[in-house]
Subunit: 500 residues, 2 copies
């Protein structure tokens, strides 16, 4: 067998190991009983170590060298050239990190996550403080494996949003904040829309059914996926034929499950849309956290909270919830689901303030990593930043520092910036799609999403990691990442909506 | 590290791999969408191959030799002695089978299972005939790896019921048949009890809740398990802290989910009861198919279909299903759930005729393996045997040859005898438990199961594979396997019930 075939066979086995890991992790967060936590931690550590060992095996390095020596000059843009570029990149990155570290990190993550699931309902930051200290140590240790980083967070930012650094993101976030602050002030001076219908009683089963119906209408394939309940919604790729979404339901809050379903469906359609020929290689996934988030936010916000979608969905929701929606017009729905408020919970935040939540977390991560903030002081630092930036103070840690899973299921640094990068890109992609197909907004009012889904499928989804974030933005929009379309979108939408 | 510690570390990793495999298999049979089947087959094959390679690694043989050389004479009955005996036995068996064969077999099983899930509703034996041919080939190939077997089925019978052979089982089954035939004839001459209340409408959610409630009352720990829906109910050990049961529900048939839940809970309590100190070794599971089935049948039939349990459960069922149970007394319930009829479906069969279903399958397996029956003739042979032995003919293959998962998810031979061996043992165990605690039958009428569960926990569950089937029967009952208590139990119960 030639070196390329041998390499591909190895990559396919690693992909299957990773698919098994994804299945175990999905089960851990959906159905696993409490008694299973200890063994599941060991299992995830074991399989993670195996996948890491299979990939960092010196034989992989020898195959890569052999392919190069054999004159492996594949045409730029060919599948082989893209595969080898990404595998070389990943191999260099992975061989910097010892297998023991990866195993220890995975085992720690699993235990930390398990603690968090108990600490959050108990409002007990003390239950996770020790494990968060350890997470911070591991994050520094991880950064230490990455040569030439200017900031310890850069190692992890580079993992999720390749090429981005603290030095680049800080000014980008400053520009965004400068655009958002006057908009939020102007909105704050106007009366808030009525949202009372959203907190009527909505039976869980009907909510799940209508959410899934929308996801399928958007283009999510239920033969290659499913929806289940969890604490903190996520989408996960088990393999090309099995990309699952999860949600949580509150019977007294229609928005919770509905928009989380549209959001996770956006992630899942991206993964379902990766070209089948990439399966069994590291190319078979979304290309970065930012691009991934652009897809979830595009479907959740730009489509799901648009005036046109309200036209389409309100009559349907009136069928599903005749009493609860009896007095709800598309206009009432549109205003309610776009209510801007200075709130506590990131995942519940509106489009406009959302980015401030992200920026607070991003800054706290940097402070922790820079040693300017101790873990024990984190709850108070959190409260102080919310008071200062959003004018609200969490009454407890449950809705404060314990609200997001990220720091309790992974490392610290690089976990949040992708959300705001995604928001920025989502507006760029949508503008480009509408430039190519000006009928898209009108189609949305009729509940037709195939043109938009098809454009995203061709321009974004299909490429997987063959195009990196910068390349996919350029391929799909004809230019580099720019903040202008996002600010213009927010400005136009919210100044009209709030008449300000 | 000494050889024993090194061996135990390896065994713990293999146990975690097997736990991961069990999780993937559970997902495959409960929640996995159709699109996931292909990758899941590959993943199960990959992990199965890894577990097999880890265990058949010559290093394991060297550790075993080293322990022996170091004078590893552990006291008979010590954990170490039991562990080494079982590991040596398993190692010898496993090293006879090449890793490629195991991988091919697992991949084939997964594909065959997937076909069966589609073939059965379509009533299309032709869809599975080819894969069944291949299963038969693989079964012969497997038998070929076992030296000195008198019959090809002995290799597989030895896997599930160590020490048993075709030569021993044939006369045992003949003795049983000789006892059953006159009893079934006598019952057949009497009027059948009224069972119409069982087929009233029972909402699925309430059925699942009451079934789980009974399982928990018996002793099933829901913090270390859960119940989900599947095609063909099973219990599965993911690890010591996570032993799951599955069921299927028919809203027009109360018996289906209720008794399958009691049955699977019996299997699951056995696995949950294996001593925690055995986790991470091959000792941490039920000791044989027969002993396993004895636990499921004991709880399902000897307890669950007893007069005393009817006293306890009918008032509870009347609360859960006030209209459906309005006119149902304990006596009506007891008679209905013990109705004897010559039926088509093994899993629905009553206690008395059940063993004839097993014997038909056992005989057909032998005929296939002996080359006296071709796969293409199997549906007709099935119909003919049912006509001859039970006086009923399946109208289609769905309720005929396609009804059981076993031949479509594993090899042929050794899949069924355990059910009847289990029935035989269940009566032996129950008689011994009542000899030790004569208050057990009375406690059951009060819904108290702790004495029985505690006795089984101590005498059967805790030992896992430390005691083999013969040893656990002797340990718990004071004597060898014997058919007399089972025949006496059936005779006394059904002659009183049918007044014959």
């Amino acid at each position: 067998m030639d070196a390329l075939s041998a390499l591909r066979q190895r990559l396919a086995a690693i992909a299957d190991l990773n698919g098994a890991i994804a299945t175990l992790a999905w089960d851990q967060e959906t159905y696993m009983p409490p008694g299973g936590a200890e063994a599941r931690g060991r299992q995830l550590a074991l399989l993670g170590r195996m996948a890491h060992e299979q990939f960092t095996d010196p034989q992989v390095g020898r195959w890569l060298e052999q392919i190069e020596r054999d004159g492996g000059t594949f045409a730029a843009g060919s599948l082989e050239a893209d595969l080898l570029r990404v595998v070389r990149h990943d191999y260099q990155r992975a061989t910097r990190v010892p297998a023991e570290f990866v195993a220890a990190m995975m085992e720690h993550s699993s235990a930390a996550y398990d603690r968090w699931t108990r600490a959050r309902p108990a409002n007990a930051f003390a239950m996770v403080a020790d494990s968060l200290e350890r997470t911070l140590e591991l994050s520094h240790q991880y950064a230490g494996y990455t040569p030439g980083v200017a900031h310890p967070a850069d190692a992890l930012i580079g993992e999720s949003d390749e090429g981005m650094t603290v030095a680049q993101i800080r000014p980008l976030f400053a520009e965004l904040r400068a655009g958002l602050v006057p908009l939020i002030e102007a909105i704050g001076a106007r009366p808030a829309p009525d949202t009372t219908f959203l907190t009527r009683h909505y039976p869980a089963a009907a909510q799940l059914a209508v959410g899934m119906e929308c996801a399928v209408a958007f283009g999510y394939d239920p033969q290659r996926g499913r929806q289940d309940l969890t604490h903190h919604p996520f989408a996960t790729r088990l393999n090309h034929g099995d990309v699952r979404i999860t949600t949580r339901v509150r019977e007294d809050d229609f928005s919770e499950a509905f928009f989380s379903t549209l959001h996770e469906a956006g992630h899942a359609m991206y993964e379902q849309g990766v070209a089948a020929e990439l399966e069994g290689t590291p190319l078979a996934s979304g290309t970065s956290a930012g691009v991934h988030e652009s897809q979830s936010r595009l479907w959740e916000n730009i489509v799901g909270r648009s005036r046109g979608f309200a036209e389409h969905i309100v009559p349907r929701l009136r069928t599903a919830f005749p009493q609860q929606f009896a007095d709800v017009t598309p206009d009432i729905f549109y205003r309610a689901v776009n209510r801007v408020s200075r709130s506590l919970i990131r995942t519940d935040a509106d489009e406009v303030t959302y980015n401030l939540h992200v920026i607070i977390r991003f800054d706290l991560e940097l402070e922790l990593l820079e040693g300017r903030l101790a873990v024990r002081d984190l709850p108070e630092a959190w409260r102080e930043r919310y008071r200062r930036d959003l004018g609200v103070v969490p009454p407890d840690d449950r809705d404060g520092v314990l609200q997001d899973v990220h720091w309790f299921a992974g490392l610290i640094g690089g976990a949040f910036q992708g959300y705001t990068l995604g928001n920025i890109m989502s507006a760029q992609f949508y503008r480009a799609a509408c430039a190519a197909h000006p009928d898209i907004p009108e189609a949305i009012t009729r509940g037709e999403f195939a043109t938009l889904h098809g454009w995203l499928q061709r321009m974004v989804y299909a490429h997987g990691r063959r195009l990196d974030a910068d390349a996919v933005v350029r391929h799909a929009t004809g230019g580099p990442l720019t903040i202008a379309p996002y600010l213009a979108y927010l400005d136009a939408k919210y100044r009209a909506l709030y008449q300000c």
